[in-house]
């Protein structure tokens, strides 16, 4: 059996940052990633990030991914990366079992940081399983990573930041975005993203949603309708739109299955995206030495995931006897950065949600 001090599950912004900070403290770790490259969902974000300089604001997500990966590669003796590898078992005595290609590998560790991120939610409507209906992030991957277009004509469902940003990126790639539908009476995302779309002539239809999809083997058209203030379709407002692609951007849900599997205390908190673990101020779950970082403990921006990763890596290293020379200073700085990222009116629901999972 392989022995390593720390196993980090997930090689996205949170996992990479945790590994870096642990390594800076002198602690060795293994990053396990199920995709064939690390960087998580940053590798498809062509837009520039907000936040402050410390979280690489004004830098495109694709470039932030490169920075985080390069940081980790600076510690070849302390950080091992296994890609194309899935965690298939997780046990309370800190044994992790992995599947890499056809090989089954057992790892004994002292601490685990679960940084599995989140996945896109689905929306219930007739024929919502037709090919041509995608998560907005999936289309982002297809276009921005693989350079393949989803189709010619697309409608976006959801006007949160992801819906707005991906609509803009679809236009950049040469796709006709027919409209954006928003069930609420107001646009969900930042005004700056909405204005960019409006300037390009894309209508953002508030109080509208998709009623059904039509198509034999794949999507051919959709029926949309207007909603009343109780989010019920108003009869007679149906309209057909011909599309070959539909993007669903109705939020993300934490990928917390591994946490449920190992028996961590969990809670359903809708403002955090779904089922999340209870954590203490240092991101430790109800099971000793099992930590979490990033979207898996509440859906936020990648900037928060990066800082949560740094914080968790720092704390875990200290707990295992590898205290960073600037521990106190860094600890306060990371806490302060997270506080700032969550401040303001947009962070209000999130702040309330995070209070609910404190243990």
């Amino acid at each position: 059996m392989k022995q390593i001090d720390l196993v980090i599950i997930g090689g996205g912004p949170a996992g990479l940052s945790a590994a870096k900070m642990a390594a800076e403290s002198g602690l060795a770790s293994l990053i396990v990633e199920r995709n064939f490259n690390v960087g998580g969902q940053l590798v498809k974000q062509t837009h520039m990030f907000f936040g402050s300089e410390k979280q690489y604001a004004k830098t495109r997500g694709i470039d932030i991914a490169k920075i985080l990966v390069d940081d980790v590669l600076k510690f070849p003796d302390l950080i091992e990366i296994m890609t194309d590898t899935s965690v298939v078992g997780l046990y309370k005595d800190k044994v992790v079992t992995l599947l890499q290609k056809e090989k089954y590998i057992k790892v004994k560790t002292n601490a685990i940081i679960i940084a599995t991120g989140a996945s896109e939610k689905v929306l219930a409507f007739e024929n919502n399983d037709l090919p041509g209906i995608y998560g907005a992030g999936a289309v982002q991957t297809l276009m921005n990573v693989h350079g393949v277009l989803p189709g010619n004509d697309v409608v976006m469902v959801g006007s949160g930041n992801i819906g707005l940003i991906v609509s803009y990126q679809l236009i950049q790639a040469g796709v006709n975005v027919k409209c954006v539908l928003e069930a609420a009476s107001t646009i969900g995302g930042y005004k700056v993203h909405a204005s960019k779309l409006k300037r390009l002539g894309v209508d953002i239809l508030t109080s509208h949603s998709i009623k059904k999809a039509i198509g034999k083997n794949y999507l051919e058209k959709i029926v949309i309708g207007k909603l009343d203030d109780k989010w019920k379709f108003i009869e007679g407002t149906e309209e057909e739109i011909e599309v070959d692609s539909l993007c669903i951007s109705v939020g993300l849900s934490p990928l917390s299955n591994l946490l449920s599997m190992i028996g961590v205390d969990m809670k359903y908190v809708s403002t955090l995206g779904g089922l999340v673990p209870l954590i203490d101020k240092n991101h430790e779950t109800s099971i000793k030495n099992i930590f979490v970082a990033g979207d898996v403990c509440g859906v936020e921006e990648a900037s928060s995931a990066i800082v949560e990763g740094y914080l968790t890596g720092l704390v875990v290293a200290e707990k295992l006897g590898f205290k960073h020379p600037n521990y106190d200073e860094l600890y306060l700085d990371f806490k302060d950065q997270l506080h700032n990222l969550r401040s303001g009116p947009f962070g209000e629901k999130l702040r309330l949600g995070l209070q609910e999972i404190m243990r």
Binding site: I62, G135, G137, H146, V148, G151, A173
Partner: protein
């Protein structure tokens, strides 16, 4: 359809890879996943639901939703959205739960 011009990203011509889709020889490029290569060829139906055999395409593209599973090199239930395309891969549409196979 592949993106040729993009204001931010550069998509340089990469090495062409030949593979087989349901018996026919087709092409993708280095860096593709099986799903992205098929999508570029206009193939959107990747799998079928088990009970009603409804057509399914990929939804999440991050290896989570499992609606893109196909038979790759004889192995069923392969998530094609996170499987790197390799030269001479044999990709088949899967219509059942998947048969037991022999690992190489």
């Amino acid at each position: 359809m592949r993106i040729k011009e993009h204001p931010i990203l550069k998509f340089e011509e990469k090495k062409k890879l030949s593979f087989f889709f349901d018996g026919k020889e087709v092409y993708g490029y280095e860096g593709d996943t099986v799903a992205s290569a098929l999508h570029a060829l206009g193939v959107k139906v990747l799998s079928h639901s088990i009970e009603l055999h409804r057509p399914r395409g990929f939804y999440c593209a991050i290896g989570n939703c499992s609606s893109c599973m196909m038979i790759v090199d004889g192995k069923p239930n392969v998530k094609t959205c996170v499987t790197q395309l390799l030269e001479n891969m044999v990709v088949k549409t899967q219509v059942n739960k998947g048969d037991i196979y022999e690992a190489n």
